[in-house]
Structures are given as structure tokens and as C-alpha cells.
């Protein structure tokens, strides 16, 4: 039960963060140039992502042996999670500016202002690109979190629910979700994905963790402590003082 909840939660949180970023782009296009083109772009991107999941997901799960799959996905998940965690540490320490959905929204709006043609290819392509690229991250998180454990349906449910919740909130408020604590969420998800990646990569090597899945909580504690240490050291760094 704990493992199922953990898988669902990791997929939900990771997908929610990426869905917020995709929503910002679609809202910026829709409110600036009309809704038809960005909605077509969004649907086209979602269909492309679904095709990718079905084709590659089936191929990977059926053809790649379980231990190799765990090692490959674990390594990729570790790289992915550490990249998020690295950015989150630099943001927490004040080295890099916090990700600001309002700023991202205004930037996209200023790029899009201008005459809109009857068939708005610019609006279509920007919405497609935004949803497809952010969606690729959602797909990776869901496949990596669910594919290597026995709880793929829970991971898919977490990812889909996150997308649905963000989409519904976006339709209701019709502005970027700037109040979502995106950086804190990315920090937390970065730690969870790094821990899961380490866990599966080691299992793929043929090692068994003491206390099995419970050791993930130990990994979370280690990476949380390490990242807090990094934030402290960066803040104390004389170059930045």
C-alpha cells in the first residue's frame, strides 16, 4: 500500500509541475491569439505523446530484460532527478532566479503579439511545442516511476490526474498558476526521483537493498541532507557573499 501511494504521489507531483508549465504556454497563446490554434496544438501534442507511450512503452517493456530496464531507467531517472535537484539547490541559495510563471507568461505573450492570420500556425506550433516538450517530461516520469515498479496503473493515474487537475484549474482561473509553489515542488520531486533512480539502478546491477522499498526513505533522507548542505555551503561561499 505504501509503495503504491509513493508511486502515485511521485507521478502526481512530477506531472503537476510540468503541467503547470505547459498550461502557462497554452494560456499565453490562447488569450493573445484566440483559442482554436492552441487547442489544436495541445490535442496534437497529446496524441503524439500517447503514440510515443504506446509504441516505445510496449517495445521497451516487452523486449528489454527487467534488470537491464531497471539499470537504464534508474540511471536516466537519477540524471533527471539530480538535474532538478541541482537547479532547486541553486534557486534556494539565491544563485539562480526562482521560476516565475507570471514572467514566463508575459514573455510568451510579448513574443506572440501581432497580426493573427486566419490559420494561426504560430499559435499552433508554440502550443504544440510547449505541451509536447513538457509532456515528454510527464511521460518519462510516469514510465520511469511506474514501469520499473509493479504499479504502472497507479503511476499513469497519478500523471493523468495531475494533468486533469491543472487543466481544470487553468480553465476556471484563466491565468497562469503563479501561486503554485513550483520551486518547492521541483525540489521535493527532484529528491524523490533521485532516490528512486538510485534504488532502481542498484537493483538493476543485481544488488538487493536492506528492508527493500523502505530503504527509499533512507535515500530521501541522504539526498535531502546533501542538498541542504549544498544550499548552506553556497550561501556561505565568499564569491557570492
Amino acid at each position: 500500500m505504501g509503495t503504491q501511494l509513493f508511486t502515485f504521489g511521485a507521478a502526481f507531483l512530477g506531472s503537476a509541475v510540468e503541467s503547470v508549465e505547459a498550461l502557462t504556454i497554452v494560456l499565453a497563446v490562447g488569450l493573445t491569439r484566440g483559442w482554436r490554434a492552441p487547442l489544436y496544438g495541445t490535442v496534437a501534442a497529446l496524441v503524439s505523446l500517447a503514440v510515443l507511450v504506446v509504441v516505445f512503452g510496449q517495445l521497451i517493456v516487452q523486449r528489454v530484460p527487467e534488470s537491464s530496464l531497471k539499470l537504464i531507467i534508474g540511471t536516466l531517472l537519477l540524471l533527471f532527478g539530480l538535474r532538478w535537484l541541482h537547479k532547486a539547490v541553486l534557486r534556494s541559495a539565491g544563485v539562480v532566479a526562482m521560476h516565475d510563471e507570471d514572467h514566463a507568461y508575459q514573455q510568451t505573450v510579448s513574443q506572440l503579439q501581432g497580426a493573427v492570420e486566419r490559420r494561426d500556425w504560430v499559435g499552433f506550433v508554440i502550443a504544440f511545442k510547449g505541451v509536447f516538450l513538457e509532456g515528454t517530461e510527464v511521460v518519462f516520469i510516469v514510465v520511469a516511476v511506474g514501469g520499473t515498479s509493479k504499479y504502472f496503473p497507479e503511476a499513469v493515474a497519478g500523471g493523468l490526474l495531475a494533468m486533469l487537475v491543472v487543466a481544470v484549474i487553468g480553465v476556471v482561473v484563466r491565468k497562469p498558476l503563479a501561486r503554485v509553489p513550483e520551486n518547492t515542488l521541483k525540489y521535493a520531486v527532484g529528491i524523490i526521483l533521485t532516490s528512486l533512480g538510485t534504488f532502481w539502478a542498484a537493483e538493476g546491477m543485481g544488488a538487493s537493498w536492506p528492508f527493500d522499498f523502505v530503504s527509499i526513505f533512507f535515500l530521501v533522507a541522504v539526498f535531502l541532507s546533501a542538498s541542504q548542505l549544498a544550499v548552506m555551503l553556497v550561501r556561505r561561499s565568499p564569491v557570492l557573499a
Partner: protein, 81 residues
């Protein structure tokens, strides 16, 4: 074509921000794999070493990038005229 190229670069960027750090992480994983599968070492010490090395490289590269950022802020390169 440029769309596909930028999409490919962004997909690679999901996993790689700093190639040196990526190489270090892969080297740590490869060493652990060799110790477990090749040398048949006891898994627990290898797992402890793996986790500690991954945590240490995370701290090291975060501090190193912060220092680089700090230095570049202190001495901004002259803009091309």
C-alpha cells in the same frame, strides 16, 4: 527541421545539464556495477559507497556552479560593440 533539432536538444537537456557531472555520475554507477557484478563484492558496502558518492558529487557540483556564477557576476565580460 530547426524545430526537430531544438526538440532533440531539449530532450537531451532533460538528463544532461553539465556533461562533466553526467560523466562523473555514470562513472560512479559503472564502478558500483563492476564491484557488484564483476568483483562480487558484498552489496551493502557498495550501496553505502554509491549513495555517499552520489550525494557528494551533488554537493560538489552545486557549489562549483554557484562559484562560477558568482565569478561571472563579479567580472562581466565586455559586450561586443
Amino acid at each position: 527541421m530547426s524545430f526537430l533539432k531544438s526538440a532533440a536538444l531539449q530532450v537531451i537537456g532533460l538528463f544532461v545539464a553539465d556533461w562533466v557531472q553526467t560523466a562523473v555520475i555514470v562513472a560512479i554507477l559503472a564502478a558500483a556495477w563492476y564491484a557488484i557484478a564483476g568483483l562480487h563484492a558484498l552489496p551493502l558496502p557498495v550501496l553505502v559507497g554509491l549513495v555517499l558518492l552520489l550525494a557528494a558529487q551533488h554537493v560538489w557540483f552545486a557549489v562549483a556552479e554557484a562559484r562560477r556564477e558568482g565569478r561571472s557576476r563579479q567580472s562581466p565580460s565586455p559586450s561586443p560593440s
